[in-house]
């Protein structure tokens, strides 16, 4: 047996050069594989997201078209569209100034001859920066709905959820009367008063709008959806904002889509919008501008 040291010498003399060459090749292949892996990964992600996107859009289109045609509405859908910030501010429903405004899923058209449009809207205000970075506070998140009321209002009437009356009872009237929104209007329906607080700059017009039947309709909605409802009547429009915690019209890729629950939820949102038109009788001749 030849000695180990001899083997070593032989190794470095004769075999090592070939191994060096192989090592170079190995490094090339390895880095190529790494790059390819990254590219493949990115590609897979892109495919994945575009599939999800296509899936979501298709899903939305199917559901919305089906629901809309079932309800016999003449509405157009735009995924990226939203109610404009100008209209949001015109509504005077939320007095906080908006630092970030976003929204999607705009639906617009006519229901029973009345021009309506609604979308999801999410508005936020920036809270002071601390060491952890910016902190955003949500002003409103949910469905924002505008309809042409076919009548010009002399003043502004605003209906908001009544948070203090639940705690303070009738004493809350005292605190609520200090508001920049206009005069407090005490409605003659105790049930309505408990749920909502009404401000207006015209006591008579506020009651003209809020007939007993309208108040009952609004209360019915509140019971049906159990969300915060804000309504205002300004100019010739009615603005309705309904706060939703969950994002609407977003199917989950990992949840099965054949369940009726999702469709029912979308249908309820759309039929809510249309029954607002119906219950408020926005197409009643008596409201028409003459």
């Amino acid at each position: 047996m030849k000695r180990l040291s001899k083997l070593q010498d032989y190794f470095y003399e004769k075999i090592y050069p070939d191994l060096e060459y192989l090592e170079l090749k190995r490094k090339e292949i390895y880095s190529f594989l790494k790059k390819t892996a990254v590219v493949i990964f990115i590609f897979v992600c892109m495919v994945f997201y575009s599939l999800v996107d296509v899936f979501t859009n298709t899903f939305n289109l199917i559901i919305l078209c089906a629901t809309l045609s079932f309800g016999l509405f003449a509405l157009r859908y735009s995924k990226m569209g939203m109610i404009s910030k100008y209209e949001y501010e015109e509504s005077s429903l939320f007095s906080q100034s908006v630092d970030r405004y976003s929204g999607d899923d705009l639906v617009a058209g006519k229901i029973d001859g009345v021009d309506i449009s609604f979308s999801e809207v999410h508005t936020e205000a920036k809270r002071s920066k601390n060491r952890r970075g910016e902190h955003w506070q949500t002003i409103f998140k949910g469905l924002f709905f505008i309809a042409d009321f076919n009548k010009n209002f002399k003043g502004k009437t605003i209906i908001l959820p009544d948070k203090s009356e639940k705690f303070l009872g009738s004493f809350s009237h005292y605190f609520q009367s200090f508001s920049s929104r206009g005069e407090l209007v005490k409605m003659d329906s105790p049930e309505f008063e408990k749920e909502f607080v009404v401000y207006s700059d015209d006591q008579i017009e506020a009651r003209y709008i809020l007939s007993h039947s309208l108040m009952n309709s609004i209360l019915e909605y509140k019971k049906l959806v159990d969300k915060n409802i804000h309504i205002s009547f300004i100019g010739s429009s009615i603005y309705i904002a309904i706060g939703f915690k969950k994002k609407l019209f977003e199917p989950k890729i990992y949840k099965k889509v054949t369940s009726f629950d999702e469709v029912r939820f979308y249908y309820e949102v759309l039929s809510l919008a249309s029954s607002i038109v119906g219950h408020l009788n926005l197409n009643r001749r008596i409201w028409s501008k003459r």
Binding site: K186, D188, Q203, I204, E205, A206, R207, Y208, S211, R285, I286, R290
Partner: protein, 164 residues
């Protein structure tokens, strides 16, 4: 001595606040009442056009129409008290109701543009009147509350305010 002056000052401020509070309640009542009155007059003003439009066709209702016109003349007088006005208004409502009901029997009248426009205006005024009356009830309640509840009832006594 100092503290006595402060107490007097506080009492004076409270008195002024109470006084102003009661005055504002009283004025709100008068304000809304004026609106109700205006709407009532507006309704009476529709009567000549109504009578002119229907009297040719609605021969049977001649007496009712004459009554309505007479009511309007009484209402237009400048010295009508609020109680009298309320009475006239009530009568007018029932007469107008029967006329509007009678219109149903005259198809050519129903389709007539003037009639439709009048009906629309009348309905509009009725809705506004109902809103104004509700507003009036609210301010009167606020006023009565202010007069009768403590502590403003003491001040109200001095001001000789009475319940509406």
């Amino acid at each position: 001595m100092q503290s006595l002056l402060i107490v007097i000052a506080i009492i004076a401020v409270v008195l002024v606040l109470l006084y102003n509070f009661l005055i504002s309640k009283k004025n709100q009542v008068e304000n809304i009442y004026a609106s109700v009155d205006t709407l009532l007059k507006k309704r009476f003003d529709l009567i000549p056009s109504l009578v002119a439009t229907v009297q040719e066709t609605m021969k049977h209702e001649k007496s009712t129409l004459e009554e309505i016109t007479a009511l309007r003349s009484s209402a237009m007088k400048s010295d009508v008290s609020s109680d009298q006005m309320a009475g006239l208004d009530k009568k007018l409502s029932s007469l107008l109701g029967s006329i509007m009901l009678a219109v149903e029997d005259y198809p050519e009248l129903k389709a007539n543009e003037n009639t439709l426009s009048l009906q629309h205006s009348l309905n509009e005024i009725e809705e506004q009147l109902s809103a104004a009356r509700r507003a009036y009830n609210q301010v009167v309640t606020d006023y009565n509350n202010a007069i009768e509840m403590f502590p403003s009832n003491i001040m109200a006594g001095y001001m000789r305010y009475t319940r509406k």
